[in-house]
Symmetry: C2
Subunit: 419 residues, 2 copies
């Protein structure tokens, strides 16, 4: 598919993140106004709430954009998703007769405040990257036992905390927690000294499933509304002490940052690619009927306060062993109902090489091999560091961008129980 | 505190579950009507939604009972909780002058349908019973390594799935899942053959905490609105295969049954009791300023289809090592925001003796020692078995009952992916 040309010149930049081919959905406020649903196009935001209220955008079962969250659209199903995308594409296309009625609903992206694009129902995180699992397993259990016995048979997942999900730009305060070094006699309560990031893609569930309903991989793919970048902030020292036997808990509950725009499945359609060859056969319920990953180039940038940016990792979502559709299908095997607004973290996306690892735990090999950054080195995240995840799918003369997923780590509270 | 006498005779039965001392909050519908907030009293339900609409019940910031869920009251805070309880107590007390205006809002409990009493925001489950953790650890890791090293230092918890929470009476379909026996070459996809219960108490969070806010144990206790009985249905064979390294996932996502009435913290106040002596000192943030457990007698009854009931376990909530207040305080150490409607499972409540264990895994010692029931024996739950949890706090001439927490296990789908 080539670039779809828009009457908005800035949307026709082949390297720009928001061409007409993209049309990602977010929530914004401008000039101190109330938050509204918006669509990124070029260097502008189309005020979708305003456009619907003005009658330029009419949706079956509408109004669906009255509240500042995309959940009503997400729940409405693929016919509405398709109708909305087709109408937006027509309104913004080069030569669109509606240009005059659309123009007043455009707001500059620069200066707009972006909010969480949807109400997060529940948050699940997976452990589905082969390289990441191998790296972490090698560090913790040695190379012979790197992959747990179940890893090649099912997408390992755990439930996270939905209340921890924040939009890009929200400061992340370094957490306190129980930590215990291998030689300590007893645990201490202290600020995390091994605070880390995890580069992930987040899938947003659109249409729900019912309790007791088993969802096939194809059906799961159809339920997904779109994708965001996701940074699953992780306190490695807290995690090491708490995670046996029931998994990570407070180590993952400080914050989970997502990028502000939901890039729709439709926009990513041209970039579908298959999961790698299976090393052992999957049970039939996990078999994919077609390509379910996407070719999305990803990078992690780190900027110390007042310093220069260093890109510390470059990788691709296509490195994953399990797709979101497989994860979502597995999620329903127990009869678990999935809901509109559920957020599924892909798992850390590491590539095969050292410079393509998606966490500092792996990049610095458990802190033993600090990585170089402009003007210094890092084992884990230091106070006032800003970490930005970026992602884009590169098409034929256009780019599908996600918008930055960024967060600055601010120092821990000095005495958390004093107020 | 003695029995508070009501003008409703049935509420004055010293063994009845719902005297004036209790006043638990639920959601009911009767005669095919829409669900409404109700208060159990004797053998009746007081239609609190109707009472507020009629102006007999006036609450600061009201109306707070217009929707069929107690969340608005829960969020309103302890002044409103106290005002509501005081007003209900006055309206229903022996000699209350308002009797004539209250009477028309009473509906017989028998025949009313009960619904989830609140919207569950997120669900967390803990592993905080010393006897349960020792039993399970002994089975899985041997008696020397029964308790994980962190167990005596922190209340181990994991995030569960809020969409799995159902009200008492909801049938529970036996789940399918990946299972692999120790001698199997590869996993199979099959109905769970080791489907189990877990006897727990569920705490309902009333007032929220903010992201980044550290909550003390005393503050955590103040945030709790009330308690329900909770059965954390668990597929032990699915759990055994999936739970390393990130904890239980689909094994716990089929259903979590709660009793229909929220028994308030105020009603349980006379039954406060302390956690047992600490075997190792706790970090200061987990120390309790006063008694934070409750003396609540609990039992588990099992009834095969068409058969007789057997009480398979009798225990007490006072057996727990960690209280809900400690768990909730720990939950916020990372800066995790807690929300109105969060549900915290206590962890399985097992006592020190064989007949006081809170799961079949423990009662049948991993299935090796079937327990006798009327007309048969059980290792795990069989199809069409009904399991009922019961709980009561026994006061001076009165009883605080929870109402049954019951669920029947119905057979697995024959072919889950055929429709």
């Amino acid at each position: 598919m080539p670039l779809l040309r828009s009457w908005l010149d800035a949307a026709n930049d082949p390297a720009g993140p928001f061409p007409l081919n993209n049309l990602p959905y977010g929530v914004f406020s401008a000039h101190g106004g109330t938050p509204r649903c918006g669509v990124a196009i070029g260097d502008m935001i189309l005020d979708a709430t305003g456009l619907e209220a003005a009658g330029v955008l009419r949706l079956p079962g509408g109004p669906l954009l009255a509240e500042p969250a995309w959940n009503a659209i997400m729940a409405a199903g693929s016919d509405v998703w398709d109708a909305l995308r087709a109408r937006l594409t027509a309104l913004l296309a080069e030569g669109a007769p509606e240009r005059a009625s659309v123009g007043p609903h455009l707001v500059p992206l620069a200066g707009a405040q972006l909010h969480l694009p949807f109400r997060v129902a529940e948050y699940t995180d997976f452990y589905a990257g082969r390289h990441h699992a191998t790296n972490v397993g090698t560090m913790f259990r040695g190379p012979e036992n790197a992959l747990p016995p179940n890893w090649l048979h099912l997408p390992i997942g755990y439930n996270g905390r939905a209340s921890s999900v924040v939009v890009s730009g929200t400061p992340v305060r370094r957490p306190w927690g129980q930590v215990k070094g291998p030689d300590d006699a007893a645990p201490r309560f202290a600020p995390s000294a091994r605070f880390d990031i995890e580069l992930e893609l987040g899938a947003v569930v659109g249409t729900p499933s019912q309790a007791g309903q088993h969802v096939t991989v194809a059906e799961a793919d159809a339920m997904i509304f779109g994708y965001v970048l996701l940074n699953d902030w992780s306190a490695r020292d807290i995690q090491a002490w708490e995670y046996q036997p029931l998994g990570p808990f407070q180590s993952k509950a400080t914050a989970t940052t997502i990028s502000p725009w939901i890039v729709t499945k439709a926009a990513l359609e041209p970039f579908r690619t298959s999961t790698p060859a299976r090393e052992v056969p999957l049970l039939p319920y996990l078999e994919e009927p077609g390509p379910m990953l996407y070719d999305i180039a990803l990078e992690v940038a780190l900027i110390p306060e007042g310093g220069e940016e260093t890109v510390i990792s470059r990788t691709n979502y296509a490195e994953m062993y399990y797709s979101t559709a497989q994860q979502l299908a597995h999620h329903t095997t127990s009869g678990c109902a999935m809901r509109t607004g559920d957020l599924l973290g892909s798992g850390t996306i590491s590539g095969p090489t050292k410079d393509s690892r998606g966490s500092l735990l792996e990049l610095s090999w458990g802190g033993k091999e600090p990585i170089a950054i402009a003007g210094g080195a890092r084992r884990f995240i230091e106070d006032n560091d800003t970490v930005t995840l970026r992602g884009e799918a590169r098409g034929d003369g256009y780019t599908i961008g996600f918008g930055d997923c960024t967060g600055q780590v601010i120092p821990a509270l000095p005495q958390p129980y004093e107020r």
